[in-house]
Amino acid sequence: MENDLMERYIYAVTRRLGSKQRQDVARELRSLIEDMLSERCAGARPTERDLRVVLTELGPPGELARKYDPAGDRALIGPPYYGMYKRVLGVVLVCMAVGMTLAHGILALLKPGSWFLTLGRWLTGLAAGTVFAFAFVTALFAFFSWRGVAVEQYNFDDLPPVPKKRQTAPVWESMAGIAFCVVFLVVFLGCPQILGMADGTPLLSVEGIRASWPVPVLLAALGIGRETVKLLERRYSRRVFLAALIADGLSAALVIWWLTACQVFNPAFFEKIGALFPEDPGFSAFFEKFPTFFLAVFLFALALDVLDAFLRGMET
């Protein structure tokens, strides 16, 4: 009975310790408890009451385990990241909610339906968006905390210069960027037929877009990640430029792959355009090149964005 309690106590202390020290700590604790018991009983046989007194003196097992392994208790996101984590999480959640509401408003206008279905979709979207935002921001900061990414300057000489007017990145800019990503994602996936001809033939292939849904999700995530870095820096810096370069580079690669490998555009749209102007082959030829044109414009916009981040960030 006594031994059982002692072993239970030792197990409770050592079970969270690393496997290397677990056995040794258990053995040492066992010898300590026996020493404390024989000291207390001075030769007499210890009773369970004695054991309880000794264990009480040693304290709660969890507390003792923490003394053995203080690092095991380290927070997933500790200081100095925690305060920043809360601020960024708040901003991202607000943007997500605003973006989601806007997006569902647009969807409701595009595809009028019963109000409770609209309400249901909006609430589901909010719930999913909240989970995603929490997971995303938490993972980002857990990574920062784990790698010890420098978010504060300790050396006076390394303090960045006070940003010039065009180098500051106001919070609203990042918030608008994040909200836009959410709106893009929801409207695009919810209603790909938003662009099309007057008779309802859509420019984009609804099935093609829906089948390749991870692509717009990744595009939105890249955009949100990039805006989050800007939100942390509050200015255009080398890091913001790097984040833009990586996010825009990956976006470009993704979109190129998307337009070539997946059926994104609706072939029926181009046939109808051609049929509308049978006497003018140049017109339909232009529209057939539309995907390439679209890609060129998109890539140009990404290049401009990276250039802008570069010029603003490298200016000292």
Binding site: L32, G59, K67
Partner: protein, 110 residues
């Protein structure tokens, strides 16, 4: 909070700071953990086993102590003793402590 509470907090801070010095000084000779607890208590410096045992392992991890299990006695016990590095650290820390406590005394007197 009355003066007694504040003083007890202050005293425990002071004790915490000198703990390592005391432990190192006692381990010039090989001792096991509970022996150390009793010895310090006898010298008027009571110390909890639940503080001392984790501390011994930490100092061993830092290379200041080394340990051996002795199984030739009736009860198996883990004995700790200073390493060369531990001796060096103890000598430097003792030197610092002497100077520091003298300066503190001078401040308190004058």
């Amino acid at each position: 909070m009355d003066a007694r509470d504040i003083v007890s907090g202050l005293v425990s801070e002071l004790r915490r700071g000198t703990l390592i010095l005391l432990v190192l000084s006692r381990l010039r000779r090989e001792r096991y953990g509970y022996e150390l607890v009793k010895e310090l208590t006898d010298r008027g410096i009571p110390m909890d086993a639940n503080t001392l045992y984790p501390l011994l392992r930490r100092l061993e991890g830092q290379g200041l102590l080394e340990s051996t299990w002795r199984t030739d006695e009736p009860k198996p016990r883990k004995y700790y003793r200073l390493t060369d590095l531990g001796g060096e650290v103890l000598a430097m820390a003792t030197e610092y402590w002497r100077r520091f406590s003298r300066q503190v005394d001078q401040c308190l007197e004058g």
